[in-house]
Symmetry: C2
Subunit: 345 residues, 2 copies
């Protein structure tokens, strides 16, 4: 039960603690023989340095953190992997931290910076409705990845972000459906409180309809009501079922996330509709899963790999002082697969 510390190791080795410390941290000025001896003792005694003590003392941590809201989002898994690789290349360590939907990611970031002496932070997901005041407290550089909706209340010079233009891309997708001849396009939209990507995607839909002289029908805008797991297939299924039962006429469904679209396709199938012959379905995100369902899902692909790579590289450029904050926009790619078709007259 007795916790073994660096002092114990030093005693056993008959050396001072600083020598042990040097051995552990690969300091240059230590006798290789001494070092080997110490490492052996550490090995057999099972000594493990206490990270709290290390963090407390260490000024220079060479580490960053990734705060991710929505752990289930498959979209993030890939990004994390890439970010991790790049981080290792720079010989930094990375702390991955899952943030609950009810938690405030900036508060957590604030704590983490103090605790771990971070050099930088990446925020993935989240709603980005933070006060500039709080953000200012965060004295390390931070980058928002795939957030989409940088609000006006924060000075653009105070943060970086990497994202696609959700408004524009969403408009693109809607226009694609319109060009296929669809007029009654239902949208699986974000919950009312969404100030982030969801809102922009809905806005893009709206603008596209207006541009083409198509009125937006209330009954075709189906908002997600179960906020618990917003972009779940289950939500897509349930909302689509409600849509079908409502009796509203529609020939296409545009879901603001692929996962919703997959739920929608299932609901349509269960109700006896064929996709895309009877109803076209389009998604957004370009997740892998969309390629495995039948029919394959037409989607708006976000270039995740490139975005992740740019996100982490940008962070390091800012950390090193080479650059100031930036706002990088990636182009999305409309990938036409099998779930959408021209409307039969």
């Amino acid at each position: 039960m007795s916790e073994i510390t660096i002092k114990d190791v030093a005693k056993r080795c008959g050396v001072g603690v600083s020598t042990v410390s040097r051995a552990i941290n690969n300091h240059p000025d230590i006798n290789p023989a001494t070092k080997q001896m110490i490492m052996d003792v550490i090995q057999e005694s099972g000594y493990i340095p206490n990270n709290s003590a290390r963090n407390l003392k260490r000024a220079d941590a060479k580490s960053i953190a990734v705060l991710i809201k929505g752990i289930a989002n498959p979209f993030f898994s890939k990004m994390i992997k890439i970010i991790e690789e790049e981080t290792q290349k720079k010989h930094y360590s990375m702390e991955l931290r899952h943030v609950e939907s009810y938690e405030d990611e900036v508060d957590i970031a604030l704590e983490l910076v103090k605790e771990k002496r971070l050099r930088g932070i990446i925020f993935l997901g989240g709603y980005f409705s933070h006060s500039e005041e709080k953000l200012e407290k965060l004295e390390v550089p931070f980058v928002f990845g795939t957030v989409g909706a940088p609000p006006e209340n924060i000075s653009r010079a105070s943060y970086s972000d990497v994202a696609v233009d959700d408004l524009k891309e969403s408009k693109k997708m809607t226009e694609y459906l319109i060009q296929l001849g669809h007029k009654d396009i239902a949208i699986l939209a974000p919950e009312p409180g969404d100030l982030s990507i969801g809102k922009l995607r809905l806005e893009g839909y709206s603008q596209a309809l207006t541009k083409h002289g198509i009125g937006m029908k209330e009954g075709l805008v189906r908002k997600i009501d179960d906020v618990a797991d917003t972009y779940s297939m289950e939500n897509g299924y349930r909302i689509t079922k409600q849509l079908i039962e409502s009796g509203e006429h529609f020939t296409a469904i545009y879901a603001i996330a692929d996962s919703l679209a997959i739920g929608a396709m299932r609901a349509l199938k269960d109700a006896g509709f064929r996709v895309p012959e009877d109803i076209s379905v389009a998604g957004y995100d370009g997740i892998e899963l969309g390629d495995y369902v039948v029919p394959r899902l037409t989607t708006l692909r976000q270039p995740v790999e490139e975005m992740a790579k740019e996100t982490i590289k940008l962070l390091f450029r800012i950390i090193s002082g080479k650059e100031r904050h930036q706002h990088i926009v990636y182009a999305g790619e409309l990938i036409e697969k099998e779930s959408t078709a021209r409307l039969e007259k």
Copy 2:
């Protein structure tokens, strides 16, 4: 840039540091007025306690950790949610830690226990090929969730686990396919090095075949070669494609994970096979996604919710000293959906 500490707060308030500490930690013996005053100052100064220092000093942390190997596994998302809820009910805090596939989860656990003064640990995923020696160093209770293959080299009295009997359930699924008239059943199996659940599921398949006098054909056992993301749809797709191209005759595919099965179904569809009319496909796990694909996937459902609940409750029972280590086995449930059918003569 100057980090504000508890001392600064004390000075500003004109009180001692211990009083500030008391205010922060809700100690009983403090004047409510003083406390309010201090909290106000903290609020406006933006002071944030340093967790490293806290952990270093604090003996009693009331926290547990969940180490999860394979963050992408949708199977775990649900478990974590439930574990988190139960943890909060007990007024414990939970540290969620993602473990890379190349990392040793026990080493990480060892570090974490020292750093955060944990009271207990839950291991999710991982291959459980740890030496008892290391595990012994871990002086807090730990529970393995859904691991499946408790190896013989570790005394059963030294750990707990919650799982389904993978061998038995896998055998059940294979026999189900046999009873449908299938004899040439291909299996999408784990990579050769898998000592965990994968191995057991393969063993169940083998035993079922033997029991029914069906020889195991080498050509029908397709092992996962890309270990990077073992149970991915992509792997299922690729392996199935190889199987089809190999020319081996088969009428059913049993995938040891639903994700693999979904990849398999897509590969079959692309090759012109109908599921289940031409080929039956069965999975294992019972993930949500299986209900959204077309056709719905026949699977062996693990009762995730119950297992998660039992896992965390068991851990707390052990922490409180009420119970010793246990080995809890849940029954799986074969859910017949649309992807399997009786073999046409």
